[in-house]
Structures are given as C-alpha cells and as structure tokens.
Subunit: 342 residues, 2 copies
C-alpha cells in the first residue's frame, strides 16, 4: 500500500457545464483508521451526471450536502476494504459506496454502502454498469413501467448513455423494436451495429420529429425519458395509443434536474390514453438480487453487452466527468484508479 | 306534435368565452321524414364545454366538422323517436345522440347514437348526468386510474362541475377523503354540505398552494385533473408518493384543450414515483352496463346524488352554455326543452 493518497478536489464551482479546470488533483497521506472506521482502496470511480447538482452553491438537500470548494468531490466508487476497525466491514470485502474521487477513502459505514453480490462471475466494473445502478435503472424502468410487448417500438433518449444503451438492449430481448436517440452520427451507428438497435436518430437532426416518425412508423409505444424538455414534447406528439412514458430517475439523478417549462401537449396523454410514470431505482432494492440474476443470464447468453467508456487514473476523473456532458462517452463512464483493479 | 321546430343557430363565432349574442333562436317547420330517416323530439340538451372547440373557424377534425354560421349548433341531446322510416329505430324509443340544439332532429342513424338502457328506474335526465357520460367519466377515470384507497386523499379540480362532483362522491364511497377545488365560496360550501366532500378550496384563494396543503396534509394521493395549466403545477408540488394523476377526457372534451405551457415540475413524477394517465370514456363502452349498475346501486342506497343545473326551454340553451364558462353551473348543466319531458 502506497502512503500517498491522491484525490480530486473541487477547485471552483462549474457555471453551466463543468470544465476540467473546475477540478484539481491533490495529494495527501493515506488516513489512519480509528475505531469504528475502515479504509477502502477505490478501484473504480463511477461518473454520474446527477452529482453535478451538488457542485452548486447552496445545493444541499436531504440526500447530500452541497460540495465544498477544496474538498474531495463526492461520487460513487467501487473499492476493497484494506483495513478495518469496524466489525461490520472485514478486510478484503468489495463495496460500492457514495464516497469521493480519491484513491483511498475512510468510512464509518454511513456512506450509502452496498456490498457486491457473491459469487461474482463478471468483471468487477460490470457492477457499476449493467449489474449496477445503471443496469437496474434500465431493467426496472423499462419492465415495470414501459412493459414493452413483442413488436412494439421502444424509443430511448440518451441511448448512448449508461442507462439508455441497456434499455434498448433489454427492449430487443423482449421482442420489441429499439430506436435510440443520440447526439452524434457515430453513436447512432454504434447503437445499431454493436448493440442491435433497429434504428437510431441523431437529436441534432434538422427535422428531428420527421426522423423519429420515420423510425417509429407505428408511433412510440414506450418512450424511455431521461431527458425531458423539448424532446418530450416532440415524442408526446407521436406517442401511440396506450403508450407508456418512463421517467427515469436513478438514485444518483435524484433532484438533479432543474425546473424547466413542461411540454405544451400533455393533453396527448388523454387523446392517446397514454401514461407517464416516474420511479426511483433504489426503492426497488429488495428486488436487486432477482434482477441481477436475470441480467447475468442475458450476459451469459450473449444477449446483453456491458458497454463501458473507461479512462485510466485519478488524473482522468475530472475529464471523464466533463465528457458526460460533452457527450463523448458511449456506455457507462468509469475511471479505473489502479492497475491491479480486477 | 307541433308543426314548428325552434332551434339555436350559431349567430357569430365566439372570441374566447362564448356570450349569449353568439346564439340566436330561429323557427322552421318540423322536417319531413324520408326513407331511411327518423325524427327525434328532443327532451333535453346536454351542455358540454368541449363543443366550444368546434365553434372556431377551421376547427373541423376527425370527430366533427367546424360548426357553420347560421346552422344549428351541434350538441348532445336526449330525445324520443316520434316518427321513423328506418327499421333500426322504432317510434317511442329514447336515444342520446350528437344532434343539435333544436326541438326536433332528423337523423339517418349516423349521429353517434346510443340507446337508453332498459329498464330505466331513474328520471330521464339522470342519463345525461350520473348515469351518462358524466358519471361514467368520473367512474372509469377515478377507479381505473386513480384507484383511491381508504384513507387516501382525492383532490378534484372543477369539483362543482358535471364530472368533478361525481368524482368526489365516488371517492367518498371508496373510503377516501374528497377535497374539491371550485371557483366560488358558495360552491365550496355546497360540495361539503350537500355532497359530503371533506373539504373544498376556492381556486381564487390568495395562496391556493397553502390552502391545498392545509386540506391535504398527507399530500395528494389522487388528483383528478380536468383543468391542466398552473393548477396542475401547484398540485404536482404536493403529490404524494406513488400518487396518481387522472387526466380526464370525456368524449365531448376530445380535442377541446388548446396547447398551453406544461408544468415546470414534471420531475416530481420521478421523485414521488407518481403516475399521470389519460383516458377517453367512450372507449370503455363495453363496460357501460356494468358501470351503470354499480352507479344505480349507489343512487338507490342514497350514497350518490345526481346534481343538476337545469334551465327550461330552447331560449335558454345559449345562456346555459355560456354559464358553463362563467362557472354559474353546479353539477350537470341541462336544458329541458318541453314540459312533457319525463
């Protein structure tokens, strides 16, 4: 174990989209473990856009306090207990926790910790992807609310993103057509070529509504919405009879979306007898084991891929976070912190 | 049978809310019945705000053409066949149909006709109220989508209106609390005193949000929305966990609501894991018999009241329609066209 602990601190508060200069790497000593505490060596950092919210001045809420300038940036990590003076956490255990962008974290067990399932048959980073919050958000939202039927069309916003790519793949597994919306032609091509989407539409198209109509000739039976805004209005105009709009809320996106004007055509819900419903993945925690078993089977059968956008080293964490907002990522964005990470 | 047929014609197109001078009574001969036709003597006219839409220039759509200046105003009527040269409709039958504001109507059977159920144990006008589209809209929307549970709070917009008053009464029958929103203190008092609502709020209150919060201290479990607009935004802020928002679309309101900005806090659906769903009553037509039987039982048991705002005579039809928009009505607005109407 190295005696140095490198961490990314908040150098300045982002104004709008974050930029790399909002973050700075600092080095300190690996902390001593006091009674009741344990030390985690972080192997991976998960990058989730929702944490942007708590970088704002005065943004603290019931979930998290506002991040402080000069303090390590809070985030979701996956790491191993390397020293413990807390009976509930033993050395060698692998944990996911809401800790910080740092190589080593001290915890007293109060940091939204979950243990990795045992046995594990998959690369560790899958548990931040299809087998983690990301995959579970896709799974519960699409199956519980969207309920895609064979032959129906499932339209997925942010389809190149961590959750969206899994939604489209699961839609296909259910026998539905998957149509993705993404921000570049390259991503659209990858959705179709690598992940089996039936079609994909670049949301920067000159006539997005016409492109969606062409890709969804029988209307949109299920819309998986993690975007809202003008796109929701566009899709509402094309929602099929008895269509379902899934409003995605991963735990990490909780509270992250600022109020903005709603769609002006909500009455479409009446004329099409459609439904719009929100959910929070972490409230289905009692079903995680069952859901992970299904997802793992799909992985085994080669029906589902874990798609990663992986960078290496603590120096890259700030950049990886910025890449989420620039749309450079494809799949789940993670940073691997050290070479021994399994 | 009188040889004169009085009818209300569209004198001019309303600009915004209709006024009485938009309508004019004219007299003509009762028409001759040709082969394939039958003559209906209308006993009641049902006034439904949704028809306002088709009074606009160029408003025609799949459902109805735009109304023409100088032609009888289209509307829902309840009447009896008094002469028939059409085998499908026999003399003496009672029908509800999309005909016009007139004492006698000629039909060839293509006018969205439904027969009154037999046997009938209730006053005829009930079939335009709790036993008609009005009551059925309340019944299907509240029970199929709202699913109120005992002890939950059901908030009803336009609670003094034709559908809203029934929604609140059925909510009470289900063991839920009913809270109404209406436009005058007098209506609020009547909702509580006459119809058993637990509370009622005047939507012209200085601090409507605070009034709703006081009346719904555990949040809004079910919101029956036939209004949309800023009120929906106010209610979304107070929606309970797993709350249900019923977006009401009686067949007669189909297409009647112009696009207006949506609520800026739709993300509440995510944080509260809530649902918003629309429906069209007439698509549940196969369940009307069953639903009417349940409603009739509630009437028999004295648990449900048919509330009418009734005016008399063809001269009053235009005014009755204007009263809908001025909020003068309480309950279902109808005009009785002749004294023999049972």
């Amino acid at each position: 174990m190295s005696a140095a602990n490198r961490k990314v601190v908040l150098a300045s508060r982002p104004s709008g989209y974050p930029v790399e200069s909002n973050f700075r790497v600092e080095e300190s000593q690996v902390p001593e473990v006091s009674v009741g505490e344990f030390l985690v060596r972080n192997a991976y950092v998960s990058l989730d856009a929702g944490f942007r919210n708590w970088m704002n001045e005065g943004s603290g809420d019931d979930v998290l306090p506002a991040m402080a300038i000069g303090a390590p940036v809070m985030g979701l990590t996956l790491g191993q207990v390397v020293a413990s003076r807390n009976d509930a956490y033993r050395e060698g255990e692998w944990l996911m926790a809401r800790l910080a962008w740092e190589e080593y974290s001290l915890s007293d067990g109060a940091d939204f910790i979950s243990r990795l399932p045992e046995p594990r048959n998959w690369p560790l980073a899958h548990y931040l992807g299809v087998l983690g919050d990301t995959g579970l958000s896709a799974y519960f939202g699409l199956l519980d609310i969207g309920k895609p039927q064979p032959g129906e069309t499932v339209l997925v916003s942010a389809a190149g993103g961590a959750v969206g790519n899994v939604v489209g793949q699961i839609a296909r597994i259910q026998g539905a057509r998957a149509v993705g919306i993404a921000g570049t032609d390259e991503k659209c091509e990858r959705l179709v070529a690598e992940l089996g989407f039936d079609a994909a539409v670049n949301h920067r198209s000159v006539d997005l509504a016409a492109e969606i109509a062409a890709a969804c000739p029988e209307g949109v039976h299920v819309y998986f919405d993690s975007v809202g805004g003008p796109l929701l209005e566009t899709v509402l105009a094309q929602i099929a009879e008895k269509g379902r709009i899934v409003m995605c809320g991963a735990v990490t996106a909780y509270n992250a979306i600022d109020p903005s004007p709603g769609p002006n055509n909500l009455f479409q819900l009446v004329t099409r007898q459609a439904l719009m419903q929100g959910y929070l993945t972490h409230l289905s925690e009692h079903r995680y084991t069952e859901a992970r078993a299904v997802i793992a089977q799909w992985l085994s059968d080669g029906k589902l891929k874990n798609v990663e956008y992986r960078l290496q080293g603590i120096d890259q964490v700030g950049r990886a976070f910025c890449d989420l907002f620039d749309g450079r990522n494809f799949g789940k964005t993670i940073v691997q912190l050290h070479d021994e990470a399994p």
